[in-house]
Subunit: 255 residues, 2 copies
Amino acid sequence: MSRNRLRTVASAATVLKTFTASRPDWGVSDLAAHLGKSTSSVHRILSTLADEKLLEQDPETGRYKLGLALFDLAAAVPSQRTLQEAVLLPMTDLRNTTRETVQVGVLDGRHVVYVERLDSPHSLRFFSEFGRRADAHCTSTGKALLAYTPTSRLDRLLKGWDLPQRTEHTIIAHSALRAELKRVRRRGFATNRHESAVGVVSIAAPIRDQRRTTVAAISVAGPAERFDEHQDSIAQAVTHAALAASRRLGFTVAA
Amino acid sequence: MSRNRLRTVASAATVLKTFTASRPDWGVSDLAAHLGKSTSSVHRILSTLADEKLLEQDPETGRYKLGLALFDLAAAVPSQRTLQEAVLLPMTDLRNTTRETVQVGVLDGRHVVYVERLDSPHSLRFFSEFGRRADAHCTSTGKALLAYTPTSRLDRLLKGWDLPQRTEHTIIAHSALRAELKRVRRRGFATNRHESAVGVVSIAAPIRDQRRTTVAAISVAGPAERFDEHQDSIAQAVTHAALAASRRLGFTVAA
DNA sequence: CAGCAACATCCCGTATAGCGGGAAGAACTA
DNA sequence: TAGTTCTTCCCGCTATACGGGATGTTGCTG
């Protein structure tokens, strides 16, 4: 943490981040109690953020919630723009080939953030999962990204990382995860077989840029029964799409 | 603007909002010049926001961009959650019926913010347009929302609103817009025929909640040539989907 | 229906956080 | 190699932000 920080801005950021999907609205008093601050201070932060449209206040109840200005900001997150352009056609091709949901994710610490998505024609999924974050250790996207994370950085991530067990198939031992990541590097793709949730299977491959750095991963996900029959061909299609996307980011195959 | 505001927080919000799709990254010096502040002050704000993951700094160039924490916040915006659940099946049905892209939007002042989307099976569109905002006066979604905006509020919006002309078909006169909104109320749906962009046609209908308040609109959009043949049946499907979504929000048809 | 509780909002005295000038260090360019 | 541009940091000064407590509103309960 930088020494030269603005504590009022940090407090306001903390306030913003207290609004979550599971706790979408707060009153002045209960937020003050939650944060251990006075109602005066919290009220000032909330009304300032509301003036800036980052929050909204329900005029009937007086409670605050996140505001629409956040959509504008989320839509402007730039690293995904270059990535978006690169994955446009490969994602569409992959979706049309596999008829399944296709996603692109990036690593954020011990999580995956899904930044792009194309629904399968017969999927009920929605944009609401845009920006969704998931565990890195038990998703194919996460494992595809961790597999190519520099060793020193992976060591730092693993230190103190008590891998959450999501299903009975979830890898929870560091040694097992390291072995699995080695297997991912050998095969060139990662799989998730009921590790993040029972019934969910996915395959992911890394997307690299012109410096050969893995910057994202592309995946196909669906219910297990549709995958088991065609895993080899899906894996091939995913690695093909990942290479196509990589090429568009300037990656060249070694001679 | 509230008198009781935190100017450091307001400055930080201004900094965040300076990052846009068209200007996705800033250095300390050029942002300071842009905002008329000293580099010391701007640097402190930027590094504090980076500590909070709302911004990221490129370690090679020193320039700042928006951070991934914004996805978490955008995904947690609550008013869309209830709406999402309500529009789930109606959107899917509408997409399957029309084979076109389906969106749900809400009004934000003189703009529409698209908060849900389902791509047509043959669309190249992507999540990058999630949260996209568009003019209200020349989109079917916008007109469907403005048509049911209380008169006093519509008057306030129109006052000083110089309607931007996007194509030769765009409504730019207040009187013409009022007449058009009357027509929307009479027909129960709104249309956009090359008004927001040449070649783009869409049809939208209002979604109401249990208090009979119009809270969102659902629309189908596509290229003009696919719409012209089936406008009546598409309009019927859209109004049907809007009613289904409304019912799920507790709306009941008057006896 | 009156009293009470809970909440948001606001005022004001105090002190500390934040401001900007300017210096230091790094990287780039002519 | 010197000059330029940029980011980062230090420090004195002052204006902002803090929290206690008061006020007003709304809803609940006996």
